[in-house]
């Protein structure tokens, strides 16, 4: 798994560099959209946030045994 994480890190860094130097997107006027690499941050942090919310909701409130409704 460490190898996969390393490869992903390298690809993402390459993409970020490509975005930095090659892409000249129009300014959108939305501050976070104009940051280079916002999509990477959104993917990583957004994924963690959603997973955290889902697991917390499930563990402390919503998970039940499978025969709960029987």
């Amino acid at each position: 798994m460490k190898k996969i994480i390393l490869i992903l890190g390298v690809i993402l860094a390459a993409l970020w560099l490509a975005e930095l130097f090659l892409v000249h997107a129009h300014a959108t006027g939305i501050w976070w959209r104009d940051l280079k690499g916002y999509a990477i941050v959104m993917g990583v942090l957004g994924g963690m946030l959603l997973m955290f919310i889902a697991k917390t909701l499930g563990k402390y409130w919503l998970y039940r045994k499978e025969d709960y409704y029987d």
Partner: protein
């Protein structure tokens, strides 16, 4: 003119499915969508795109073929064909009969030109789809059918009340943009229940996973998309739809992340993706409506493909729970490939159709200056990829368990062919968006494959993979269920029954007992009194007095 209606072949095929042998039935099943398609071409060529049915009291607009209806018709016919192909091996007649009725009534609903016709097909859809839910005939099937009908008939009542209000107010019943007055709100509520918008969504993840492998494929495509069509026709541009859509998208994705049953997880993603569509329709601009409807068409295909692939796993292993599965990648590489195509399409990976419609929607949100909506939709895209392409795929195809390694049954060729054709359609629209653009309600020439947009999409998806790789060792598929709002009518109703219905019932019984005792006492006393007075006892003295009271009462009244 009624013989020109494109849903007629489906109703006839439903009748034929009763009598024909399996081979002939298969030919009819595959021919029906093609015949219906040919009828639409004839209608378009004839130039007369309305079919009226006259009655003395009311004229039904059975058919109105404009660009919006045509787009949904084509999508329903293409998917109707693919779903029929997926299901032709099935032995049980009910599937073929009710699937044809269901597809036919969905077509009827999108072609309906007035609210009464729409309502009739709307209810027909609810009834026929209910049989597809029950058709697996497990212990849980019948209660699931009743719950499904309970919710949908309630939705139908809202719709019908709105319709009657409009009728009595003297307004026309043509199905066009509807104002949000009292009648409008009632109809809106009816649509919202069918579209499974939060908080009236829980019927969907409750019912859809109950179907057979092929039954659920039909279910995934039609009811909710007809409701999206109805919103696009009746309530485009209503701001409340943006809010409801955003809530549904976030809610669906979080509940999907918690889910253990594959098809229930995918059902939550129907709720989530309907949120996307409804957001586009709520934005209301040409681009927004195009994006909403394009996503509906895309969703019919890739969600159908995902239900087909998970249905294939169910068919081969008899299992749908991630905690029971694992290692299925070793058993069937083709299903893995088709599943991943659907999963990448729904996540918005470039070269697949989900990328095109999601890009249109993000553009629509940007043009409407709704930065918060754009951020929300991106976050939901992350959750979609995380829950389907990573979590579901990891636990079903690899994972800790080994329940999927040695499946018992082989998959019929037609199921592979159906999945292959659906995957190919997703790919074709993704590579060549003009295939779909030309049928959208408004002219569309958006260039979705700009360098920055492609890079952002890939970054978003790979960032999510990085997250999953970091946390995967802490994730386990647990054999649990997740509560949702259906708790209120599954468990809550029982509590209500205990707290309210039982005491009221007990009270009523005790009042009844006292009343009976009182009458018996009065009767006996009267009889004794008659005896004491030496009057010949009547057969029922109490009755005599009551009749006398009644007669006096009538005399006084007149």
């Amino acid at each position: 003119m009624i013989e020109m209606h494109p849903s007629l072949p489906f109703f006839l095929a439903a009748a034929l499915a009763f009598f024909l042998n399996p081979r002939l039935r298969s030919i009819v099943q595959l021919a029906v969508p093609l015949i219906s398609f040919w009828m639409i071409q004839r209608l378009l060529a004839a130039g007369d795109q309305t079919v009226l049915l006259h009655f003395p009291a009311y004229t039904f607009t059975l058919l109105r073929l404009d660009s919006l209806a045509l787009l949904f018709c084509y999508a329903f016919l293409i998917f109707g064909f693919l779903a029929h192909l997926y299901a032709i091996h099935a032995h049980e007649k009910e599937t073929h009969i009710f699937a044809n009725l269901y597809v036919g009534s969905s077509l009827g609903a999108v072609l309906a030109g007035d609210l009464v016709t729409l309502f009739i097909f709307w209810e027909l859809m609810a009834l026929t789809s209910a049989i597809l839910i029950w058709n697996r005939q497990r212990k849980t099937s019948l209660p699931a059918l009743f719950r499904y009908l309970l919710v949908h008939l309630t939705g139908g009542l809202f719709f019908f009340s709105g319709l009657l209000m409009k009728l009595f107010a003297g307004g026309g019943l043509l199905f066009q943009t509807l104002p949000l007055d009292t009648a409008g709100w009632m109809i809106f509520a009816g649509f919202a229940i069918n579209a499974a918008l939060v908080p009236v969504h829980s019927w969907l993840p409750d019912a859809y996973p109950e179907g057979t492998a092929h039954g659920s494929v039909y279910l995934s495509a039609f009811t909710t998309k007809v409701a999206v069509y109805a919103f696009a026709r009746g309530f485009a541009g209503e701001e409340i739809l943006i809010w409801l859509g955003a809530v549904a998208a976030v809610y669906g994705v979080i509940w999907a992340l918690m889910e253990n049953d594959m098809r229930r997880l995918l059902s939550y993603h129907i709720v989530c993706q309907i949120g996307y569509m409804v957001c586009g329709i709520g934005i209301g601009s040409d681009l927004g409506i195009n994006a909403g409807t394009a996503h509906a068409i895309g969703n019919i295909l890739f969600k159908g493909l995902l239900f087909m692939a998970t249905g294939a796993i169910l068919f081969r292993t008899g299992k749908t729970k991630l905690s029971d599965l694992g290692g299925f990648a070793h058993a069937d590489r083709w299903i893995l490939f088709f599943f991943m195509t659907g999963a990448l399409a729904i996540s918005g990976a470039p070269l697949l159709n989900g990328y095109v419609s999601k890009s249109l929607l993000l553009k629509a949100a940007e043009h409407a200056h709704l930065a918060w909506l754009e951020a929300t939709l991106l976050l939901v895209a992350v959750g979609t990829f995380l829950s389907i392409a990573l979590k579901l795929a990891y636990f079903a195809f690899w994972g800790e368990g080994s329940g999927g390694k040695n499946p018992e049954r082989r998959l019929p060729l037609n199921m592979y062919l159906a999945m292959g054709a659906t995957a190919l359609t997703c790919f074709a629209i993704g590579v060549y968006p003009d295939l779909m653009y030309r049928f959208l309600p408004f002219p569309e020439h958006a260039h979705v494959y700009s360098a920055d947009h492609v890079i952002h999409s890939v970054e978003l998806l790979l960032g999510t993979v990085l997250t999953f790789a970091l946390i995967v060792k802490h994730l386990h598929a647990k054999a649990v269920i997740t509560l949702d709002l259906d708790w209120f009518y599954r468990k809550g109703a029982r509590l209500f029954e205990r707290a309210f219905c039982f005491p009221v019932n007990a009270g009523q019984v005790s009042i009844q007992q006292r009343w009976t005792e009182w009458i018996a006492n009065a009767d006996q006393r009267l009889k004794r009194w008659f005896k004491d007075q030496a009057i010949a006892p009547a057969s029922n003295p109490l009755m005599m007095i009551m009749i006398a009271c009644l007669l006096v009462g009538m005399l006084l009244l007149f």
